[in-house]
Amino acid sequence: MTAGRGARWVLLALLAARALCAQDFVFNNGPEPQSLDPARTSGVPETRISDALFEGLVVNDARTGAPVPGLAERWTISPDLKTYTFTLRATTWSDGTPLTAQDVVDAWLRVLEPRTGAPYAYLLGDSIQGASAFSHGRGPAADVAIRALDPRTFRVTFVGPLPYALAMLTHNAFMVTPSFAVRRYGPGWTRPGHFVGNGPYVLKAWKPQNKVVVVKNPRYWDARDIHLASITFLAIEDQNVAYDKYLAHEIDYATEDAIPTARIDEIRLRPDYHHVPGSTVYYFLFNVTRKPFDDVRVRKALAMAIDRQELVDGVLKAGEVATAGFVPTMGGFHTTRGNAFDLDQARRLLAQAGYPGGRGFPPCTVVYNTSARHRTICEWLQQTWRRGLGIDVQLQNLEWNTFLDTKQKTHAFQLARASWLADYPDPSNYLDLFRTGAGNNDGRYSNPAFDRLMARAETLAPGPVRDRTLEQAETLLVDQDQALIPLFFYVNKFLLDDRRWGGIYANTIDIHHPRWWFAR
């Protein structure tokens, strides 16, 4: 063999070896992402891509979802639990620029800046000292309690002893983005030619409505531990279409966006089906300012006439967990018992409210956003109430934007379907929804006693006292006032062939950081 021929064989062998250990991973990410800038996005599809392209101080562990070191190597917490000092790793951006603590400061300030219009600015604004004024344009940036003490040390002071601070820091609003690139390129900084990142992968291609392709970032601080050559995020909105791709082996992993609920019976039986109960709650919200739901007895009657177990076992069948309480159990906090299924009591309450046997019950409409699954659940509810209480509710499905407008702006509803996925794992993130005047308080619930309990919890350190206070608040909201009808907790499910891929584990927060994925 001549030298040339020999070289060619070696090259082929190397390529083959590379093809064997590194792999290309393809999956459906759901709807086309609104933006690849983690500061300006709030949806799950965007977050999945941000997790691949950027990193924050801490990231989610693959199995438990708990915060583990990311860009920060280690940290210390002050005795009053308010100040965190992080030591950053010595690493660079994907273009070679050294990454310093000042980059963290700049990134967080950019999120807080009113001009950016970051949907999660309030996460920083409500938790960091001095940040709220700045984000409302009423204070200088210098007052925000974040500092770069030296190129590798970053310090932040929170408004209180927040028990969920570290978990919150894994949120994409806290990711460290290249402010210098944003300044240099403006809104086009996220496009393949200009892109600069610090995550396990970098952006290679972005074809709208089609796919986002990222490849391994050789300058990532832990590049040695990244085992996929590329990840392709497809942008298919239709679950059936995506599931068909999975069946045809055109995609490697099926998330919620590729598991159609109508076919759950066949999907459950597959060996590659993984599921674990999650913490997203599905409920129906009362507009408590509208008849007949201004009467708590009517609200309770409707809630107690529902056999949630039948819904979960007979209609949903994917392992959802029925609940009459709103906030899932977490840490030392326990879900309230709520008002369980009791048809006799429900009938009695309805009669007391003036509608014995459902007679004279005013017309009532349940609104929900268009989807086969919501429709099925609503139809089942309609029948349940007709059979159990003798009342007839109308169902109205609204197209998404119209639904949001009705629920959030005009509040022109009596009962609306809703769900809540926590921004960080703490009961206050759920209960804050119902504070008087809160932005997302679509049902117009207002109870001063509830507000007082929530305000008190804000000042308490993590521990049993805080847990009990929050539990009291939930009992008030659900058991006593029945401001909503919780139905069930979602199941986090996905399809993955464990023999070919690893690093994706079923966890309750349903966050699967691409940093841990690998091919077997």
Partner: protein, 321 residues
């Protein structure tokens, strides 16, 4: 009607051009107002944006200005060929999005139209010439099935048969995927079928009518051979209704691409415009609409020209269609 020197043609083109521009202008204005009537907006989301953030974003996109001002700004940008940034896909401008989405839709739509036209006219003519034969009945039965089954049943059925049960073709995607041009086959076949069926039926009906007319009998009496009779005389007259149908067929194909693109995950304009409507992405809606309107208007113009070509009695003079 005689066709005189170039100037009537030029006058006709000029008048047509102006009237098209006027129509386009009216459509744009009407649409601009209408989309702001729809409830919700581009920045609605399940977890509501805090009011100051919403205000800041709206300022950035000039949504805080009065509607007439926004309209004038829009017209001004349009005059510079700038369709604006997408409200929803914040990292892209509207013309980038449309530029990427147009080729897939055009490819599928044009192929479907071509196949439907060629196939439909051939099938319909054959069926008419062999009226009441088994060929006629089978062809027409197939045609009826073609227009009776909705696209969102046809598509999944094709997918089931040709991509899932037997992995001959990819289930969805576009030609930049691994399996390249094969990805085109199913979406085009799905979209072609209903229009092929419609055109076949229409052609058959029309050819049958024409076959009975005087000038065809005259042609036959002259001793011309059958193929010549068919091609030169019959088709000329018979194709008029088919030509009329092409306008709505195009519109139908444009809406059909929405379903086909959704089922086969094609990154095209149909899917983009549905998402734009659902997301209330005002600028993208306007951009899509302008593109569609231009396409339709062009198509109708071609159809009108075709009228003139096929039926020489219709001139381009004062009472031109």
């Amino acid at each position: 009607m005689k066709r005189g020197p170039k100037s009537p043609m030029l006058r006709f083109l000029l008048r047509r051009g102006l009237s098209l521009a006027a129509t386009l202008f009216l459509v744009i204005t009407l649409a601009f107002l209408l989309i702001r009537l729809a409830p919700g907006g581009p920045f609605a989301s399940e977890k509501q944006l805090p009011p100051e953030i919403l205000a800041s974003i709206q300022r950035r996109y000039h949504l805080d200005e009065s509607v007439p001002r926004q309209y004038l700004r829009f017209l001004g940008d349009l005059a510079h060929g700038d369709l604006g940034p997408s409200y929803r896909y914040q990292d892209f401008s509207v013309d980038e999005l449309i530029r990427d989405a147009l080729p897939p839709s055009m490819t599928i739509g044009a192929l479907a139209l071509l196949l439907a036209l060629v196939g439909g006219v051939s099938l319909g003519t054959l069926a008419a010439l062999r009226q009441n034969s088994w060929l006629d009945y089978t062809a027409m039965a197939l045609a009826v099935v073609g227009i009776s089954v909705p696209l969102f049943v046809l598509g999944p059925l094709f997918k089931l048969g040709f991509a899932l049960r037997h992995p001959w073709l990819p289930t969805s995607g576009w030609i930049d995927d691994r399996r390249g041009w094969l990805t085109l086959i199913l979406p085009v076949a799905t979209l072609t079928l209903p229009y092929l069926a419609g055109i076949a039926r229409l052609t058959r009906a029309s050819v049958l009518e024409v076959l009975r007319s005087d000038y065809v009998r005259a042609a036959r009496a002259k001793g011309l051979s059958e193929p010549v009779v068919v091609l030169r005389h019959v088709l000329r007259g018979a194709l008029l209704p088919v030509l009329s149908y092409l306008g709505p067929a195009c519109a139908g194909i444009l809406t059909g691409t929405v379903v086909v693109e959704t089922i086969f995950a094609v990154p095209g304009l149909g899917r983009l415009s549905v998402q734009a409507a659902i997301n209330r992405d005002y600028t993208l809606i306007m951009g899509d609409m302008i593109v569609f309107a231009v396409l339709l208007v062009l198509m109708n113009f071609l159809v009108d020209l075709g009228y003139g070509f096929l039926d020489p009695r219709i001139g381009h003079g004062a009472d031109a269609p």
